[in-house]
Each structure stands twice: as C-alpha cells, then as structure tokens.
C-alpha cells in the first residue's frame, strides 16, 4: 500500500481513483494505528497552514473574548485554526505578531483597537479583514463593522425623548475609529435638538477610571448633566459608582447608559440601559469574510445591526 493511496483516501479525494475495498482497508488501518496526519508536513507541502491570526487589544475584556469565540467557531467549521495575538497593553515593545504566532498564517483579522500591532499587520501582505474600523481604510480587503453610529443615535434619541437636555459623554480615551464614531453620532443627534447640550470627558477603560471621569463631570461648575452616556458598560459601572458616592440616585437623579451589553450590564443595580453589540457575530462575520477572501472571492463589507436595551438606569430627568 503506497503513501499516495493513503493520502488520497484520507484526503477524501479517492472517488473514482481508489477501489472501495482499498478505502476500507486504509480507514481501518488508520483507525487501528491511531494515525494522525502531521500538520507541519501538510502545511509545508501545501504552502497553506489553515491558520488565521486574530489580533485583539486584550482578551480580558469580555467583548474580545466573545469576538474570539465567534471567530473560532466559524474557523473550526472550515477546518481552520485561530491563533490569538493580544496586542500588549500599554508599555513594552510590541512583539512581532507574526513571530508570536508560531504558525505560518493564511490570513489576519484585526480589531482597530489593537493599534500597536497594526503597522506590522499591514506590512504582512496577508489577506486582512478589519473589525470595527474605518471602512475607507484601504489596507483591509474587507471590514466588518457594527452600526455603532446607529447605536449612539439610538442612545441619544432615547435620552432626548425622555426629556434630557444636558448630556455628558464619558468618552473612551482610546484613539480608535469606533469611539470617534460614537462621539460624532452623539454630537450630531444632540445638536439636532434645540436647547440640548453635550459635553465630553475622556476616561480610561476601567471601572475606576470611569468613576473618576464621572466625578470630574459631576463636580464641574454650572448645571449638572442629567444623563451620562458612556462608551462602554465598564465605564458606565464606574459612572454609577460616582453618582452614588455623590448621593445621586439612578435613574431618578441621573441617567446612565453603556455600550456592549456585557454580563456586567445586568450584574449591577439598576441594570444598565445599553447598546447590545453582538461581539460573537462580529467575530463570526469577520472569519466568514476571511474565508471568502481565501477562496479567492471578494467579501462584502458587513455592517451588523445593534439594539438599544432599555433597562433600569435611564428615566426622565428630575423636575427642576
């Protein structure tokens, strides 16, 4: 029995070339011997690795863990593996993502938030799908976005509809497309209502920094905002803590909104009004786009819808 025959059978390329009887023999032998193909050899021969790199800013945020989960599922369905490159937070020289990924790669999916790693990724010359990033960016063969602008608009309209006129935006202190979009859509919507005013305050992406930013906002001279729009749920949790420390009740005295709908959003009291972003869908759509690309076709840019979840942290502003 030759190697070639075995390869044909195990690669499901035998119909019309190998007899049924031989096929059975091969399969039985493979099973009995516990045969496992050597992936390194296969990769070497084929020049493809069936491995994809996913570049995310950090895994410890539930959001990107979910993105990974969605991406991994689709990859597995296509016989691909996913290697993660969590771009190092803060200081320290970013390791070369292509070196860190011990495997050779067939393609890359990258979040726009993993800014540090992007330069290297762009230079990689590999098929690239960008997540949640500027669709006009020429580097990516495809982009998968959430309709973040619509989400921000829905938040603003919800709040304005409740009667809020002084809104403060706790804006993520991260220079990334997704946060710029939030700020712009929010500003446009609020500006569209006479007498409504928006202020912004930058905040690092943690509960603690969210709390401090909210305290700065609430300590400002002049009339206090009646609603705090936060760039994500973590910030919103921090904002709630700040409000409570100052003796303000949520939502009676002040409304708070988040983004993402993390587990956190329903763990806090009151539950957060937030914009649900389906992180798993982002990961899955990103991987699907990359698979299309690897098949030599051109994937469509995807924009995934988002919904506003009205929960307990928003209400009409207090009467004067």
């Amino acid at each position: 029995m030759s190697q070639a025959t075995v390869s044909l059978v195990l690669g499901e390329k035998w119909p019309g070339r190998v007899s049924e009887r031989t096929v059975e023999t091969v399969r039985a032998a493979a099973r009995d011997l516990g045969y496992r193909p050597n992936l390194a050899a296969r990769s070497l021969r084929l020049g493809r690795t069936r491995t994809v790199l996913l570049v995310v800013p950090a895994l410890t945020t539930e959001f990107f863990a979910r993105v990974y989960t969605g991406a991994e599922r689709v990859a597995a369905d296509n016989g691909f593996g996913v290697v993660l490159y969590p771009s190092p937070e803060g200081v320290g020289p970013a390791r070369d993502p292509f070196d860190s990924a011990r495997a050779s790669l067939d393609g890359v999916i990258a979040s726009s938030m993993a800014a540090d790693a992007l330069v290297a990724v762009r230079g990689g010359g590999l098929p690239l799908v960008m997540l949640d990033s500027d669709p006009d960016d020429a580097a990516a063969a495809a982009t998968v976005n959430l309709d973040i602008a619509d989400g921000a608009r829905q938040v603003a309209e919800h709040l304005l509809g409740l009667g809020h006129r002084r809104v403060a935006h706790l804006a993520a202190a991260v220079d990334s497309w997704t946060f710029r979009v939030r700020a712009r859509a929010l500003a446009e919507t609020v500006d569209g209502v006479p007498g409504a005013a928006l202020s912004a305050e930058p905040a690092g992406l943690s509960v603690e920094e969210g709390r401090r930013a909210a305290e700065r906002v609430l300590a400002r001279p002049g009339p206090r905002p009646t609603a705090l729009v936060c760039d994500d749920d973590i910030l919103a949790a921090g904002a709630c803590k700040a409000a409570r420390r100052l003796g303000l009740r949520i939502p009676d005295d002040i409304s708070v909104t988040g983004f993402d709908d993390l587990a956190l959003a329903t763990a806090v009291e009151p539950e957060l009004t937030t914009v649900r972003l389906s992180a798993e869908a982002v990961g899955a759509a990103g991987m699907r786009a990359l698979m299309t690309l690897l098949d030599g076709e051109t994937p469509q840019d995807t924009v995934l819808p988002v919904d506003l979840l009205r929960r307990g942290s928003t209400a009409p502003p207090p009467r004067l």
Copy 2:
C-alpha cells in the same frame, strides 16, 4: 552562500563555525529581504512545534481569559505559541482537541473545569499540566493549584468572626475538584464553631442563576441565613440582586462573599468581599511547569496563595 550557513547563523549556532564577516553578510541579507523562516518546515524537521494547547472551559469568563494571558506571556518568553481549546459548553459533540488545534502539539495545559475535553487530552500521550485539579490525579505530570481550601477557610473565619452563625453556600453546579474543595473547607470550618450551621444551594454559573439560587435560599422556611458564601463573583452579583429584590440591605441585613476578584467585584455596589485568585499567575505557573517538563526535568506541583479581600459586602449580622 549555502542554506546551511544561513541556518547556522540565524539559529545562533555559528560561533566557532562561521566567520564574523559571513555572519554579518547573512544578517544583512536576511534583513534586507525580510526573510521569515518557514515554521512548518522547521517543525517538520525538528519534530517539535513549540506549540502548546491550553484547554479551558470557556474564554468568555474573565477568569480563563486571564489564565490565557498569563500562560501566553510565559510561552512567548520561551519562544512557544499557545493554541486555545475552549471546550464547547453544554451540548454538542466535543470536537477532538488535537484536531481543532491545527498545529501539532508539544504539550497540553488543561483546566479541570474543561471536563468534556479531558478524556481526549489524557489519551494524547503528551506532557500534561493540570490546572486547579486534584493533585492525586495520576494523569498529569504536574498540577498547578490555588490554595482554594485556604480561601474558603478564610471566608468562613471572616464571617464567623463577624458573628454570623447561619451561613448558606451558593455552590457552583459544576462537578469539578475546585468546587468540591470549597464546599468541604467551608463545611469543616463552619462545623468547627458550636452553634454555626451551613446549608448549600446549587447554582449555575451566571448572574441570573445566582440570583435564582439566592432567592430559593432566602425563601426557605425557618430563620434566614445572615451570610451568603458564593463560589464565584458572578454568583455573588446574582445573590446581591436577589437580596435587594427582597428588600434586604447589603451588608446590614445580609453579608455576601465571592471568589475570584473579577472586575465585577468592584463594579457592583457595595464592592464584594471576595477571595482574590490570581488567574494570570495560574496560567503563568502552568506554562512554567510545562516548559520544565519539556526540558526533561520534573516540575514541582505548585500551590499559589490566595487572599481574602474584605470589602463592603460583609458586616456583622443584624441584631435580633
């Protein structure tokens, strides 16, 4: 210039065999050409892949995302890559982890909670490090544990010291060593104090299920427990919600404790008294043990210390 010379230089095996001048020439050329060694070929030749599989129950829980982060850091320092196998939650046939990992593997690190995947892992014949699992388990060449028993004891002593005598345990409905240890240590400590009683209530690992379990506990006939010990912070967040729905104040009417010290623990109000488990340290120690194993040495079993963080969710029980 031959392949061999280049290989020697790039593999840092040249001293005494290649002239300094040639070394420089090779390095310059490699840089100019942007040469990247083909890992598949190297793996094929060496029979080792410098890739490790990390088996975790789910990434979307912050805890295991942190374990990955710690493991990945140590792996990268040793020139290894990490492939994740998040064992499928709930139903569905578990894919073969060795198939899912597209690379061939040099070793495996597995959490005891990823029960489904374990059978396949054990059969792999690869060096295996188990995380947070029974040290008597013979399958693993090494175990890395947290001193969970000590954590549970500290929680119990803290509560007993505050004067609590009726304690309920919201026990994770997962059959895993780590949770059995918590239950046992808690029971032993409470039993050591005359007049103190412990009851247990199983709960799925989510805020919602934690809330329901706590509601069951608090609705039981007879005197209400004055403290709720929860197997993790997520459950504790649910328990807090249950208490509040019943009009109980935390910690005045009832104390609540968690485990893990997730971001959630300080996001809720009041902040949770909890046992800090350093998930990153677990991942890092696990990877270090595996590296030792791959060097042909025998790693020590590791037990990492834990600390009780006393925060706002515990206080003396209400006076009768």
